[in-house]
């Protein structure tokens, strides 16, 4: 934690410690000292337009009037918020305002506060509109600084100064987020167009605005999604031994800082959303502009790259390559060829381990020398996949295919390739090391689409917090989170605003991991669109129907039973002696404390075997618990009772499920 310098100032006789560089207005507000302020909001940079917030500041040498909203505290000063000089000045300002906008409520209230009954002046440009624009500039600042859109601004000067869209037009680029209307203190801006005709547009906008406010206020200190997107996870995963290194053998590497978010930040375009979703203030999809490619069909050209995000960076560590330019280049070509960076990186990590283990050699790869860290060979393989040529024709078909192919054609040891080939249901693992989190092994193994973490990411809950120690706890988490995250898919929503920014009061809620404040926001969002009120439980039951139906669909396609939820052993524990020995203290302690075996005197091979026996049994027990919690048979098939309860007991579904013992 960085040291924060505190400076003690005096406001109206009260001694107040203040963080260096915070403004006098902020210090006063934090200490419940009222200073009138019309153009201030904690969501935007100060603007010092209204001049109502003036105070008198005495630094020991002289006293002067300053606007408190943009006066930074840098030394101990004495502040008077209502000295004669201040009051006189503030009253004149307010009188002018009242004479110009006599019916605007907020002006009337403030005038009353300084005891102005009626202004003494007649303003030449008096505006009787109760919702007149008072030129505070809040709207254009939030549009530019908060939403990153920069649509509205002031036009003209003097009496005809006004907020307008460019050329007084209906701006097609305005995304209709409503932030300007929300922040306007007078109601001068109202949203008039709701092309999608939601049931209650205001309800939808308010729910969205809460996220926007949190993003503006907290993101920089929390995940910095606006700054670097999910890339911030690279160094975090490394610190917790969870960053996959060399085909998930290890969880950290000395070279990780070379691909950390600080490095990526220097490449990313700043201060602009990349257009992933108009108006999303999380804006985590980053882009690299003018990137010069070093290989492939576009070699030498400067291109725009959409990314990279965490998975693509983690995938690079998995291939043992710690070079940001490589990451950006493979990101670009995967996108260009229509490949998924995760499947590519995990697939190549497998190829590299096979190469190092002698399963592959230069002859079998058609001349490619491809051990871990082989940057150029990885790119060449990518281009071969793109062209559908050479070894690329084999690697491009994915790990499930390669395993079989290597056994049948290259005489590979089936046990070895099945242990280290990181896929489930034919889909490559995403980029997290799951060895120390049984719940997450289930999160990958049971996931309907294959080895993806987007149904449940439970590693911290399980491995670090130790919040879900029993099988029943893990099963509950593997019920709730997959159902919850399925709900985003049902609605076509992104899941990141749910838990990549945290509401101020989240820690005080009963179940902070669920971010109840945001779940409530999604209930309102759903109600605002459809007119149907929702609760946390009703959202989950929407998903449960679909989720079970998907499992039935998997069953129909030959992927919906216990045997299909099996995982490669690399995701559950150390496959090789080297892997075991790299974390020997941890594993030895587990053998004695959890497994109940004394490791002293055992060879590393024996320890690997003992550990494996234990962990594989644990995984089976986890499946038992999860199936039970979900209302499935012990073979992972939804029971008839469950289907009935969910109202998806259609005749063909029943027939299918019955055939499989459901």
């Amino acid at each position: 934690m960085t040291e924060i310098e505190m400076i003690t100032i005096t406001i109206d006789g009260r001694s107040i410690p203040v963080k260096r560089d915070s403004t006098i207005l902020e210090a006063a507000l934090e200490n419940n000292i009222f200073i009138p302020a019309l153009c201030h909001s904690e969501l935007v940079e100060p603007y010092a337009a209204c001049r109502l917030c003036i105070v008198e500041v005495d630094d020991g040498r002289r006293a002067k009037l300053v606007t408190s909203c943009n006066y930074p505290v840098r030394k101990p000063v004495t502040v008077y918020t209502s000295s004669d000089k201040v009051l006189r000045n503030r009253t004149i300002t307010l009188e002018m305002m009242l004479s110009r906008w006599p019916n605007v409520q907020i002006i009337k209230d403030l005038a009353k506060f300084v005891r102005i009954e009626k202004p003494r002046y007649k303003h030449p440009a008096v505006d009787l509109n109760p919702n007149a624009c008072i030129l505070c500039g809040l709207c254009m600042r939030i549009c530019e600084q908060g939403i990153w859109e920069n649509i509205i601004n002031f036009t003209n000067r003097g009496a005809v100064r006004a907020v307008r869209m460019p050329y007084d037009s209906d701006q097609p680029h305005c995304i209709g987020c409503g932030a300007c209307a929300e922040i306007c203190p007078t109601g001068a801006i109202t949203m008039v167009d709701d092309p999608n005709q939601p049931f209650d547009a205001d309800m939808v906008r308010r729910a969205g605005m809460r996220i926007t406010e949190e993003m503006i206020k907290f993101d920089e200190e929390q995940c910095d999604m606006r700054g670097v997107g999910t890339a911030h996870l690279v160094e975090i995963m490394d610190a917790y031994d969870l960053l996959p290194v060399m085909n998930y053998r290890y969880g950290k590497h000395a070279d990780t800082p070379k691909i950390s978010s600080d490095v990526l930040r220097t490449f990313f375009t700043k201060g602009k959303p990349d257009g992933c979703w108009l108006g999303c203030t999380m804006a985590c999809a980053k882009a690299v502009e003018d990137f010069q490619l070093s290989t492939g069909p576009y070699k030498g050209e400067k291109v725009l790259v959409d990314g990279p995000e965490y998975e693509t960076l983690g995938g690079s560590a998995n291939m043992g390559i710690f070079d940001p330019r490589f990451v950006i280049e493979y990101n670009f070509y995967c996108d260009t060829y229509g490949l998924d960076t995760i499947s590519f990186a995990t697939g190549v990590s497998f190829v590299m381990e096979c190469y190092e283990a002698g399963v592959l050699d230069k002859e079998k790869t058609g001349g490619l020398e491809i051990p871990f860290g082989a940057r150029d060979a990885a790119l060449e393989l990518l281009h071969q996949i793109g062209r559908g040529e050479g070894f690329g024709l084999i690697a491009g078909k994915g790990i499930r295919y390669m395993k079989k192919y290597f056994v049948e054609n290259f005489g590979a040891d089936p046990d070895f390739v099945f242990d280290i080939g990181m896929e489930a249901k034919g889909m490559e693992y995403s980029e997290y090391v799951t060895k120390e989190s049984l719940a997450q092994q289930g999160g990958y193994g049971i996931a309907l689409k294959g080895a993806q973490h987007d149904e449940a990411w439970l590693i911290f809950m399980d491995m670090v917090n130790k919040q879900i120690p029993t099988f029943a706890d893990k099963a509950e988490a593997l019920h709730y989170f997959p159902m919850w995250r399925t709900w985003f898919g049902l609605c076509g929503l992104c899941k990141l605003p749910w838990n990549d920014v945290e509401p101020a009061d989240n820690a005080e809620t009963d179940e902070p991991a669920k971010v109840p404040g945001h779940v409530q926001g999604y209930c309102e969002f759903f109600e605002g669109v459809t007119g149907k009120p929702q609760t946390m439980d009703s959202l989950i039951s929407m998903s449960e129907k679909v989720y079970n139906f998907q499992r039935v669909f998997n069953l129909k396609m030959g992927f919906g039973k216990r045997e299909h939820d099996a995982i490669p052993y690399r995701s559950a524990g150390p496959v090789t002696v080297t892997e075991y020995e790299s974390r020997q203290d941890r594993y030895d302690a587990q053998l004695s404390e959890e497994v109940g075996i004394d490791p002293s005197g055992m060879s590393s091979e024996e320890k690997v075997t003992a550990m494996r026996k234990y962990r594989e049994a644990q995984y089976e027990q986890l499946l038992d618990a999860v199936y039970k919690r979900r209302g499935w048979t012990n073979d992972g098939v939804p029971t008839l009772d469950k289907l009935q309860e969910l109202g998806i007991d259609f005749p063909d579904v029943i027939e299918l499920v019955k055939k499989h013992g459901g």
């Binding site: 999910t230 610190a239 965490y310 439970l458 917090n465 130790k466 120690p469 990141l496 005080e508």
Partner: protein, 77 residues
């Protein structure tokens, strides 16, 4: 939450996320976070069940034999 299920093994020990951890006089929440290398930003800290606000991590002293839960939330795709 785990508070109370695993107790400190001895004097001058605390339990942090169910792990026995050494205690020393004056150790603050920030010290514990640093020692454990908990660099993830979304943390919730409880000492013996009591919530510690983020801006008090530097000043909150962990008492001997305390149970400290440092709950990591989730983030990422």
């Amino acid at each position: 939450m785990q508070a109370g299920t695993i107790v400190p093994a001895a004097d001058s020990m605390i339990v942090v996320n169910s792990e026995q951890t050494e205690w020393s006089r004056g150790k603050t929440v920030s010290d514990v976070i640093k020692e454990k290398n908990y660099i993830f930003p979304l943390l919730i800290v409880r000492i013996n069940g009591k919530l510690i606000p983020r801006d008090e991590y530097d000043s909150s002293v962990v008492p001997d034999e305390a149970t400290v839960d440092i709950i990591h939330l989730m983030s990422g795709g």
